[in-house]
């Protein structure tokens, strides 16, 4: 059984999330900053009348924030009772992945993305990194410590 995945780019690398968890994708026109929130929280935006926090994935991965361009997208993810937007450089593709294409992450990848990658998939010469959404939104913060 292949599953649909949404592919997006952050700092030149490609990441994937199960399409079933993705609520929608929005172009980014800035978020309302929330004073006192962690630095990787770009702010809150309004999605279909709901207020949703946005995590800047570049900052989450320890990179400097980038200026928004026409390609910048917010991937709105809904999983585990929470709805969070992920700020990414671009998001254009939806592809099917077979279970046998998905492999545990090599050590190196795991370290570079601060443990936010739960698996990888090879697609021709492309390397897709499957994001650990729970970790990105800080649900497993206790395990990390």
């Amino acid at each position: 059984m292949s599953t649909l995945h949404v592919i997006f780019r952050v700092d030149g690398s490609e990441y994937a999330l199960a399409a079933s968890d993705v609520l929608q994708m929005e172009s980014y026109t800035g978020a309302t900053r929330v004073p006192g929130a962690q630095d990787f929280v770009a702010g809150v935006i309004q999605v279909r009348g709901r207020v949703v926090p946005v995590v800047d994935l570049r900052v989450r991965f320890g990179l400097a924030p980038a200026t928004a361009t026409l390609d910048t997208r917010v991937v709105v993810v809904q999983a585990r009772d929470r709805t969070v937007g992920l700020l990414v450089d671009s998001a254009r593709e939806v592809i099917k992945l077979l279970p046998e294409q998905i492999k545990p992450p090599p050590q190196m990848v795991g370290e570079a993305e601060g443990g936010f990658v739960r698996a990888v998939a090879h697609l021709g010469n492309r390397l897709l990194m499957l994001l650990d959404f729970a970790k990105v939104i800080g649900e497993e913060a206790l395990d990390v410590n």
């Binding site: 006192g36 929130a37 926090p53 995590v55």
Partner: protein, 701 residues
């Protein structure tokens, strides 16, 4: 409706109705227990409990939750015996019956979660059955006799309990008719208002429904979902009446009696042993259903509220657009008239929708007696509960959110307030402690809930010692100390409280989540009162739009005491304070009071030098304080949505709203901002001068 039969909706209706019955059952059990303690024998609560069990059994059978059917039936049997024997229940009975209610509640929760329903423990069932004095063996014998006279489809017969066959047979003996009516839900019937629930109500008005058995049937025009319900009834009504009620053809009403209708007459005594006394037959099955009450899922009302929210946002945009054309020199008087009429209509609509969401405070408090019983059981404390809600109402959402806080306060009163009976007697108090919950609706759209106990009061010195802090000299300071995370005023943690989290959580819910206030009055030896003030509704509030460090925020109008123009009302330099935390930027003298002024931008950690042209004055713990900011841009109604995600749960920011520009504007919680210094670093951690300053900020001393 696109789905022919919405199982989820059906189940959620079941959960709601079952919860209602279980709450009722809990209350009645307490009444029975109280009567037994007084040595009285009051048949009414027993009858009520019987009715509630009977209704629950019917509901559970309809959705096929057998464990509830089994337990409810066992309890029913006990009650029938008790009623017949006209004797009070045994002392241990109410405990056991409460366990049964608890087990049924567990089953309902499982249904709610969509999980497998736990099978009731045999031990519990056996214990319940042992309460009933009837001999089970005799009933086994009756069953086969009964079955011989009834003509029931084997598939349905397999699902019937012996007592249900008894009921059918008893009906026949009494000259009534035992019938089966099949009802298949379908979109067409739903469109006519006929669902299994309404069919049950309508037929229930004409007949005694013995059992409803869900069936899978071949999908057909009449049963597009492949589901039907067989209603087994005892009635005096005609087939035509019943067919009309259920919206089916007359031929579909089938008799459950074999062709030889005349049965051997059995001795009268035997019959009465099988039947519940007339007084105990559920009223619901005699009375016509009340039709002027509506049970609605809160989410539907929320939907309406969301629609209203978008209307309010559109209105804001409209007003902006009008302002724009007005700037261009266009005559907008008529537009303005229309707009203000529109505003009035929206306000009325808002009031109507909010009214729908209101629930009686009594409903919120009715779960407390069971809690109290659990808390005092097995202790040497006796507590009497008095509730005075005076018909006050509050928003369903607020009620649900404030309930855990109320539970914490009641627990505190029991565990830390009310003394053990011997200690009370020594202090010349009645052995039984008193907890009084009173609610008063305030005109300002706020509800006041007071939880008062006549216990020993709070020993400020002991609390201070425990917290390793100086002894607080005011109630406000004491409350502050009590709400420190992790503080426990008990040496040994009790099972119910004493883990030192109660007050902390209660205050977070009341102050931060609901934008309310919590205060405390205590007198050693006399008692303690906690007063909770919460907004009646949190969905739509009047706000000030402010600007600070070139960002826009809103503040609820209700917290602002006054807005001061700092360009005319000059600030005095503050007293010299050392320390790293926020320093007041000045002092404002106002009607004989000195008001410390803090720079809002600085407190929020916003970059840039904020200009301070205005100050908003608030009052916290009796003490005024002010925040300076650049501009107050206006006042309007705003639909406020709480920020619930942990990523943006920041003290001092409670919610977000849309002012019409399609992006969120943050709602500031000035009360928390004012208190933040105290809680963030902790008073003890700050240098002495700053610490004293903070204390002054927080309390009224």
């Amino acid at each position: 409706m696109s789905t022919p039969f919405d199982l989820a909706e059906f189940l959620s209706a079941f959960v709601a109705e079952a919860d209602e019955q279980l709450t009722l059952a809990g209350a009645k059990l307490l009444a029975i227990e109280a009567a037994a303690r007084r040595g009285e024998r009051d048949p009414r609560p027993i009858r009520d409990l019987f009715r509630s069990m009977h209704t629950l059994k019917g509901l559970a059978a309809m959705v096929g939750v057998e464990p509830i059917v089994t337990i409810a039936h066992a309890v029913e049997t006990v009650l029938r015996e008790a009623e017949r024997a006209t004797k009070p229940l045994e002392p241990g009975a109410s405990d056991l019956l409460l366990q049964a209610v608890h087990a049924m509640n567990g089953a309902v929760r499982a249904v709610e979660r969509g999980a497998a329903v736990p099978v009731p423990s045999n031990a519990l069932l056996a214990q319940i059955e042992s309460l009933a004095s009837g001999a089970p063996a005799a009933r086994e014998g009756e069953r086969s006799a009964v079955r011989a006279d009834l003509l029931i489809d084997p598939a349905i017969d397999a699902k019937l309990d012996p007592f249900e066959r008894d009921l059918l047979l008893k009906g026949i003996r009494a000259g009534r008719r035992a019938l089966r009516i099949d009802f298949a839900p379908s979109p067409a019937r739903a469109a006519e208002g006929l669902t299994i629930s309404t069919a049950r109500e309508r037929i229930g008005a004409l007949a005694e429904i013995v059992r409803i058995v869900p069936l899978t049937v071949p999908m057909a025009e009449g049963a597009p979902a492949g589901i039907a319900f067989a209603l087994l009834i005892v009635t005096d009504a005609s087939n035509a009446q019943l067919a009309l009620a259920a919206g089916i053809a007359e031929g579909e009403v089938r008799s459950l009696v074999r062709d030889a209708p005349q049965l051997e007459t059995t001795p009268r005594e035997d019959e009465s042993a099988l039947a519940p006394p007339e007084s105990m037959i559920p009223e619901a099955e005699h009375e016509a259903p009340r039709r002027n009450l509506l049970r609605v899922d809160v989410s539907r009302v929320d939907d309406a509220m969301d629609r209203l929210a978008s209307l309010l946002v559109t209105r804001s945009r409209l007003l902006r657009a009008i302002a724009k054309v007005a700037e261009a020199g266009v005559d907008v008087r008529e537009l303005n008239q229309v707009a203000s009429e529109n505003s009035r209509n929206l306000r009325d609509l808002r009031a109507s929708i909010l009214q729908v969401r209101m629930v009686p405070v009594a409903e919120l408090v009715e779960r407390i007696p069971l809690l109290l019983r659990a808390l005092t059981r097995g202790t040497d404390r006796q507590v009497h509960l008095e509730v005075e809600t005076g018909g006050a109402e509050l928003d369903k959402g607020v009620a649900e959110r404030v309930f855990p806080a109320l539970v914490h306060l009641v627990r505190n009163a029991v565990d830390h307030g009310i003394e053990p009976a011997p200690e009370r007697l020594r202090a010349r108090k009645p052995a039984e402690g008193l907890i009084r919950i009173a609610s008063i609706a305030r005109t300002s759209g706020r509800l006041e809930l007071a939880v008062r106990d006549d216990g020993r009061g709070i020993d400020a010195e002991a609390v201070a010692k425990r917290a390793n802090a100086p002894v607080p000299h005011s109630n406000e300071a004491l409350l502050e100390l009590l709400c420190r995370p992790g503080l426990s005023t008990r040496d040994a943690a009790t099972t119910t409280s004493g883990r030192g989290m109660g007050m902390d959580i209660a205050r977070r819910i009341i102050v931060e989540d609901l934008g309310g206030e919590l205060s405390l009055e205590t007198e050693p030896g006399v008692g303690t009162t906690f007063v909770v003030k919460i907004p009646l509704t949190v969905a739509i509030v009047d706000v000030f739009v402010i600007e600070c460090a070139s960002e826009r925020f809103v503040l609820p109008v209700s917290v602002v005491e006054e807005i001061v123009d700092l360009t005319t009302d000059r600030l005095m330099p503050p007293a010299v304070t050392k320390g790293a935390f926020h320093k007041p930027s000045g002092i404002l003298h106002r009607r004989g009071e000195s008001v410390l002024v803090y720079e809002l931008g600085g407190i929020l950690g916003l970059p840039g030098q904020a200009s301070a042209a205005r100050a908003v004055v608030i009052r916290r713990g009796g003490q005024p304080l002010a925040f300076s900011l650049a501009r107050v841009a206006g006042q309007q109604e705003a639909v406020v949505r709480p920020l619930l995600d942990p990523l943006v749960r920041v003290p001092g920011i409670s919610a977000a709203t849309d002012l019409g520009d399609g992006r969120p504007t943050l709602v500031l919680d000035l009360m928390t901002l004012a208190a933040q210094g105290q809680r963030r670093g902790g008073v003890a951690a700050l240098p002495r001068a700053a610490a004293s300053d903070m204390r002054r900020l927080g309390d009224g001393s």
